[in-house]
């Protein structure tokens, strides 16, 4: 630590890597398999998924930042409880903001905003990264992981909303005349609304990612 004397630029290659790696090769959902539960629960429609993704980005980034700032003064034996206090304060903040500005989405997300506290990604990043790194890299790492999580959420939600409801952002993509009840031939896929199909969609994303990036395949 002490031998690094010259000042590192804010977006050095190393720091940029912190930002971009979690989006693909170290993606928290598809590679580390964290945060699956909320990925299944909030991805029926795109709008809540995006709000959820933004909330998680904010919470991971700032909890990483705060914990990293105070990392040298946290007694090791009670560090988990300190981390939880920080995370839950941030989550409450996010929850209040959502309630104030996007009330309907906040209703849809219901308990899952509160459950960001237990999202394994946040705790995992604090333990694995923020406790041993400086504030700025920790902040970037938080944003990177939040974005990596959010990206999967949005992809899954896109397919679930498109195939399950025939809409994208509540905007009708599949014409209403196509439906069987209006004399057409089409029907929404009811399975896409159910959580198992979200899991299968995540599985397919993992499949595609690993056949593209063979390094990720474990023996």
């Amino acid at each position: 630590m002490s031998e690094v004397k010259e000042k590192e630029p804010l977006f050095s290659a190393k720091n940029l890597k912190l930002l971009t790696e979690p989006i693909d090769s170290r993606n928290p959902v598809t590679v580390l398999v964290l945060g699956i539960c909320s990925a299944l629960a909030v991805t029926v429609k795109l709008k809540p998924a995006i709000v959820m993704a933004l909330s998680v980005i904010v919470v991971t980034a700032f909890s990483n930042l705060i914990i990293s700032l105070i990392r040298n003064s946290i007694p090791n034996r009670i560090r988990i409880i300190v981390q939880l206090v920080v995370i839950s304060s941030l989550v409450i903040l996010v929850d209040q903001i959502l309630k104030a500005y996007v009330y309907d989405v906040s209703k849809q997300l219901s308990v899952f905003v509160g459950l960001i506290i237990t999202n394994c990604i946040i705790m995992g990043r604090l333990e694995a990264f923020a406790l041993g790194n400086k504030p700025w890299p920790s902040f970037l790492d938080g944003i990177g992981n939040g974005v990596g999580y959010g990206l999967i959420l949005v992809i899954v939600a896109f397919f679930r909303e498109f195939l399950g409801s025939g809409t994208i952002f509540n905007y009708r993509v599949i014409p209403i005349d196509w439906y069987i009840k209006n004399g057409g031939f089409y029907e929404n896929n009811g399975m896409m609304i159910l959580p198992p199909m979200a899991l299968i969609t995540v599985g397919i994303i993992i499949w595609i990612q690993r056949s593209r990036n063979r390094k990720l395949i474990e023996d």
């Binding site: 029907e187 896929n189 009811g190 399975m191 896409m192 159910l194 299968i200 599985g203």
Partner: protein
């Protein structure tokens, strides 16, 4: 026959290494081994190859399915004729059903085999013949009126998610045909359940006789209309509405006989599935708190897809238990659970599909404990001998 063999031998070099169509090697291989028993000889060690390879096994299952399929075609026409009150001749009836069922079979095979070939080609595998049976089973467990594009999606889902992601034929955890049905059942429930879907042309409702209901015996039983259920003779022979191939217990039993005599299907699983169903039925009879529970236990065995599932689905050698003792446990639980779902869960009129899929998931666990128990027993015996 000879000419065909000669022709195959003539074009074979083109498909081998360095030939013009090398990339289509597995396609050629699939057709060649389908038409002729391969003459592969092992060169090392003393292995004996049974001439009854996978393709021949599958062909026998197809033959065993024929009675159920042909009866299903006739029954589709018969039920339609009943619904519009037309006195059709045998040939008219069969022809109508044939035209209704044929597209289902063509779509099922077309989509499924296309995906199989598409996966086998780049992987350099030979094309597996597992789909030969699944492709015929799928149309037989569908309601006749299912839209073809839904069927195509379900087949694609079953082959890709149910089979290819696990590594292809022989590695699948779940029975692919049932997976296709389960997918449709949850994705498009309005086309897979209810009173209208089991009879061709009933959803359009043209010329349907007043008061005609397409309800299956299971739906009637679930609604406690026991006295309206068809006679035992009708249910056994199969003159009832239902999925294409599942109605006639008689035709299914002929298939079962073929499977058992040739040793392809496990009689242990078949017997224990029926046994499990009977046990659950008798248990219901003993409590009998509602009219559905009062119908005699053996009647359950000839309603709905129970017999079809027991003979053709539960015995799937890949997804069933492998150990002999495990087969008894597996089969018994399939039959027992099927009736539990059927009678106690009002949301699902038929429980066979869900019971078999559930037990598919448990089959490896059953095998594990059977093997462990055997090891422990032999260990104890060995210890006893050692101590004496």
């Amino acid at each position: 026959m000879k000419a065909l063999r000669n022709y195959l031998d003539k074009i074979k070099p083109h498909f081998q290494k360095g030939g013009r169509f090398e990339m289509l090697h597995s396609t050629f291989d699939a057709f060649e081994t389908f038409l002729f028993v391969p003459n592969t000889v092992t060169t090392k060690g003393s292995h004996i190859r049974d001439s009854l390879d996978l393709k021949r096994t599958m062909s026998i299952v197809i033959i065993a399915l024929m009675p159920a399929m042909l009866f299903g075609m006739w029954n589709v026409g018969y039920q339609h004729a009943l619904s519009i009150d037309a006195g059709w001749s045998f040939f008219e009836t069969f022809w109508y059903g044939f035209l209704k069922v044929l597209p289902l079979i063509v779509v099922s095979y077309g989509v499924g085999l296309f995906i199989e070939f598409a996966f086998a080609q780049p992987r350099g595998h030979e094309v597996n013949e597992g789909f030969l049976v699944s492709g015929l089973l799928i149309p037989l467990i569908m309601p006749v009126g299912v839209p073809l594009w839904m069927l195509a999606i379900a087949v694609a889902f079953a082959v890709i998610i149910g089979k290819e992601v696990f590594g292809g034929t022989g590695y699948n955890v779940f029975n692919p045909a049932l997976l296709a049905r389960a997918f449709l059942f949850f994705a498009y429930p309005s086309h897979m359940s209810g009173d209208k879907v089991w009879i061709a042309g009933l959803t359009q409702g043209q010329g349907v006789v007043d008061g005609f209901s397409g309800a299956t015996p299971l739906a009637k039983a679930a609604a406690y209309q026991i006295e309206q259920m068809p006679s035992v003779y009708d249910m056994f022979m199969g003159f009832i509405p239902g999925s294409v191939g599942e109605t006639s217990t008689l035709a299914i039993l002929i298939g079962a006989a073929i499977l058992i005599v040739t040793g392809i299907g496990s009689w242990k699983i078949m017997v224990s599935v029926f046994g499990g169903g009977l046990a659950a039925g008798l248990l219901f009879n003993a409590f009998a708190v509602n009219p559905y529970m009062e119908i005699s236990a053996w009647q359950h065995l000839i309603m709905g897809g129970f017999a079809f599932g027991a003979v053709f689905m539960a015995t799937d050698p890949v997804s069933a238990s492998q150990t002999e003792k495990g087969k008894w446990i597996y089969g018994f639980l399939v039959g027992f659970l099927a009736l539990l779902v059927r009678v106690l869960n009002p949301a699902y009129p038929e429980g066979m599909m869900l019971a078999i899929l559930l037990m598919n998931a448990f089959a490896p666990l059953i095998d594990y404990y059977v093997v462990e128990a055997n090891i422990r027993r032999r260990m104890n015996r060995a210890k006893k001998v050692a101590n004496v």
